[in-house]
């Protein structure tokens, strides 16, 4: 058996030879594959989905702090009327980068962290379908994130930063109105993160569809796996649309095309349609993983199965489909005509139905349970409560006539922060506390965890609650300042104070991580055991931290919540009783005779090539050419590098040139195929 398709290798199979004559003799193997699983190399060259997941999470936390600092500058500027903390120009850059960072570099990769770490575990697989491709996704995301973030520094502080808003409407994004390079960073950076998301979505879709362990039928998968699967499909179809839009923008800016040139007859609404056809599914791309996390946490701490599992899955699918039919509700005032407004108004209203079903099912799960308000549970219930507010204000936007008053005001800002912070960030933080012991092998301190939660929750409500009022009182979005006689001063000050309370809460969360780690080390690294929360899904069935090979042996699944049902059965009277101690059911991670995919140099090199192409497109095409050379070289290196499996068949697959070298969907598909081929041996 090979390991690449992740099937569990029989324990008696011998370890692969780490290096040997077979590899040395590979005629075209430029490098042998890196070895070892300690030190920095074990991270840079890893293809292990768990390490990649951890790196996604760490990068997302870093960008979260960057985006959070930007938010604080926004709030400082707006704290008082006629604010002058940062000027209008910088302010425009800061709010643009805040949005771009929080959506593309925080919420998406943090969800990707959970997807990478947990998807294979939850379906009982050894790894994802294409481990090297998975590593490439991360490095490519990081390249895009660093490129975008570097725009704040390159050429002076906030001189070349994207400042057209995250929505970046044409024609303000054209060279005529945005002559500096900020929008180029936006166009190129988002294309790079888009490649990462697309490659990752293909990888994870194949993983979930193909690599489920024995008996893991689709409707035995945990709801988190379902939500992540739907998310990946949304990404798969949404990313190419934004890719097209970004290409048009890039062609306009770099090579004088006419797509958004009104003088040549272009209609700027084209950008809006393309952007929101991507942008609205994007909202569900962000929120569905958080829904999945909440659906894991609440049953665990209610000691009950999830209420209405099939309806939860079905409502997720419904949201996934309906999410494609509502994009123009972002354009009710754009002049799309009353019929289109009417259609999108109604379709938007009804997307509230499946979302409401989810809320009610979570409440149904809690009903009659034995609720334990641990830190993860607090975050999960916080999502139920706060997301409801965002959902309700969302319904008020769907009333199109009313939206003409509300759109582009702080009422909208309040709404989507209740969705994105109250729904998504709280959900992801809940997941962080929930799976921390699984990932690192020790618990986070509950006292500090709860305290941080309450500070964040209170600060959050004081920041964004008043924005509902500000919006209804007529305060527009994206204005760098406001007049004293407009009556916005009081609630802006409250919001600013609230933002700093959030910052304190986040600092407490980080302190908790530091302190818990320190305490655990001082205590001699006690073992937390596989299943500290008495949880339900398969990832808790192996040791903590998860051993590199995930499971000691293949698991055969007989139903939903398999792990729970191995621990607990029912007696004659139908009462739940323990069937077996957790230690007997769970794997101890002691099986070292599992053959794992070898690390590889090429994913990170390929990511570096893409970064060079990115900077090259913005600054100098020769640099881009160098990047393309590196890109092509690493694709060939990728294909030609030896498998570590002496049993594998001939491996030097089709290498192919990345002909156009745009670092676009093409080269993306190209490398994807290279990987598809190579993965059979890699």
């Amino acid at each position: 058996m090979t390991v690449t398709d992740g099937a569990i290798t029989a324990p008696e199979e011998t370890l692969a030879l780490p290096a040997g004559p077979v590899i040395a003799n590979r005629p075209l193997g430029v490098f042998t594959r890196p070895q070892g699983n300690e030190g920095w190399k074990s991270w840079l060259f890893t293809v292990d989905h768990k390490r990649i997941g951890v790196m996604y999470g760490a990068a997302a936390m870093f960008f979260f702090l960057v985006g959070g600092a930007e938010a604080l500058f926004i709030r400082l500027q707006l704290a008082t009327p006629d604010g002058s903390v940062i000027g209008a120009g910088t302010y425009n850059g800061v709010f643009t980068m805040h949005g771009v960072t929080m959506i593309f570099l925080v919420a998406m990769p943090m969800a990707a962290a959970f997807a990478n770490y947990l998807l294979p575990l939850q379906i009982g697989a050894r790894d994802v379908a294409f481990p090297r491709l998975n590593a490439f996704s991360f490095w490519c995301f990081l390249a895009g994130g660093l490129l975008l973030t570097s725009s704040m520094l390159i050429g002076g502080w906030f001189q070349n930063v994207p400042d057209g808003g995250w929505f970046n409407y044409a024609p303000n994004s054209g060279v005529l109105f945005s002559p500096h390079k900020g929008i180029d960073f936006y166009a190129v950076g988002l294309q790079i993160t888009g490649i990462a998301s697309l490659v990752s979505s293909i990888n994870l879709i194949v993983t979930v569809l193909n690599m489920r362990t024995k008996g893991m039928s689709l409707f035995r998968m945990p709801v988190l796996t379902w939500m992540l699967l739907i998310t990946q499909f949304l990404l798969l179809f949404a990313i190419p649309v934004i890719t097209v839009a970004l290409f048009l923008l890039m062609f306009d800016r770099l090579w004088d095309a006419n797509f958004f040139n009104v003088a040549a007859g272009a209609d700027p609404l084209l950008w809006q349609h393309l952007f929101w056809i991507f942008g609205h599914p994007e909202v569900y791309i962000l929120v569905l993983p958080a829904f999945g996390i909440v659906s894991e946490i609440i049953p665990t701490f209610s000691r009950k199965p999830l209420f209405g599992y099939h309806f939860m899955v079905a409502s997720g699918i419904a949201i996934g489909f309906m999410g494609w039919g509502v994009w123009a509700h972002h354009m009710f005032t754009s002049g799309i005509g009353p019929l289109a407004v009417a259609a999108f108004s109604v379709s938007t209203m009804f997307i509230a139905v499946p979302t409401g079903v989810k809320i009610l099912n979570w409440l149904g799960t809690m009903y009659g349970g034995r609720l334990r308000f641990t830190t993860p549970m607090l975050y999960a219930v916080g999502v139920v409560s706060m997301f409801t507010i965002g959902g309700l204000s969302g319904v008020t936007h769907s009333i199109a006539p009313s939206d003409t008053q509300q759109t582009d005001t702080y009422y909208i800002v309040a709404h989507f922060h209740y969705v994105i912070f109250g729904g998504i960030i709280l959900g992801l933080f809940g997941g962080l506390h929930f799976w921390w012991p699984k990932i690192f092998g020790y618990m986070l301190d509950e006292g500090w965890g709860k305290a941080a939660f309450w500070v964040i929750l209170i600060g959050f409500n004081f920041t964004f609650g008043p924005m509902h009022i500000l919006g209804l009182q007529g305060m527009s979005r994206r204005i760098a300042t406001y007049r004293a006689d407009e009556g916005f001063a009081f609630w802006n000050m409250v919001a600013t104070i609230g933002a700093f309370v959030i910052a304190i809460g986040v600092a407490m969360l980080l302190w908790n991580i530091y302190k818990s780690t320190r305490d655990w080390r001082r205590a001699g690294r006690p073992d937390v055991g596989p299943d500290p929360w008495d949880a339900r899904a398969l990832e808790w069935m192996t040791a903590s931290p998860t051993p590199e090979h995930n499971f000691d042996s293949e698991i055969e699944v007989e139903g939903l919540d398999e792990f729970w049902h191995r621990k607990y059965g029912k007696d004659e009277t139908g009462r739940v009783v323990r069937a077996a101690p957790t230690s007997e059911v769970a794997h101890d991670g002691s099986n070292t005779k599992v053959h794992l995919p070898s690390p590889s140099y090429w994913p990170i090199v390929l990511g570096g090539g893409i970064l060079l192409v990115g900077y090259g497109l913005i600054y100098n095409l020769w640099l881009a050419a160098a990047g393309v050379v590196l890109l092509v070289a690493s694709i060939y290196g990728w294909i030609l590098e030896p498998p570590d499996d002496p049993e594998a068949a001939g491996h030097d697959e089709d290498g192919h040139d990345d002909g156009d070298g745009h670092g676009d969907a093409d080269s993306n598909g190209d490398s994807a195929e290279a990987e598809e081929e190579a993965a059979t041996v890699g």
């Binding site: 293909i202 097209v244 006419n258 007859g265 068949a649 030097d652 993965a679």
Partner: protein, 207 residues
């Protein structure tokens, strides 16, 4: 589906077990299908952009009617269509273990693709000399973007086919790896089908 499965099981006999997946389709093939699903949206988006913009030109601007040479493009489209046929022969040859036949048909497919791309290059040059540049007007920008993206896809396909050809020459493309050819074939057919749509909408629809 079951039949293809059985066929695969036999062609892959030495490694049949290792390709066991939940769906029965190999990871690589499934990934290609999923990727092509995404590509549909890419070309769908580009086609929409073209249709949205093709008429947005002034009365004196260079437009579709001024440059299109339908007979010429019909011939090159036919050439590309034929390459799908030769691709089918290549896949069927390697499935039967006919490695030489596989090479011949791979080379033929790549050659037909190359003829198509050459035709496109010629067409672009001709259009440019007639005054339609990438930056001339919205029609130019949209036309070159759409057909350029497609041409890039064909070019990448050719490179992949050539690589398969070289691999086969070196003995690295045995019958067991027939699925690799099949997967590249999927990509190739997809690119052909996209061209049929583009040709119909861009060249044949009344301007």
């Amino acid at each position: 589906m079951a039949d293809t499965m059985a066929a695969e099981a036999t062609t892959h006999s030495p490694h049949a077990e290792e390709h066991h997946t939940s769906t029965g389709i190999s990871n690589e093939k499934l990934a290609m299908w999923v990727f092509l699903g995404s590509e549909c949206l890419l070309f769908g988006g580009l086609l929409s952009v073209y249709m949205f913009n093709k008429g947005r030109i002034g009365p004196t601007d260079v437009g579709p009617n001024d440059v299109f040479d339908i007979p010429f493009t019909s011939v090159s489209s036919f050439v590309l269509l034929m390459s799908s046929l030769t691709m089918v022969f290549a896949v069927s040859a390697i499935a039967r273990g006919n490695l030489r036949g596989n090479r011949i048909w791979l080379a033929a497919t790549a050659a037909l693709g190359a003829i198509f791309v050459a035709g496109q290059v010629y067409e672009f040059t001709a259009f440019y000399s007639e005054g339609l540049g990438f930056t001339t007007n919205l029609f130019g920008s949209a036309f070159y973007s759409l057909t350029g993206f497609h041409g890039a896809h064909v070019t990448i396909g050719i490179i992949m086919l050539m690589t398969l050809f070289v691999m086969s020459l070196r003995g690295n493309l045995p019958q067991q790896r027939a699925e690799t050819v099949e997967i590249i074939g999927l990509y190739w057919h997809f690119v052909d089908i996209v061209w049929i749509v583009i040709f119909t909408i861009v060249y044949l629809f009344p301007q």
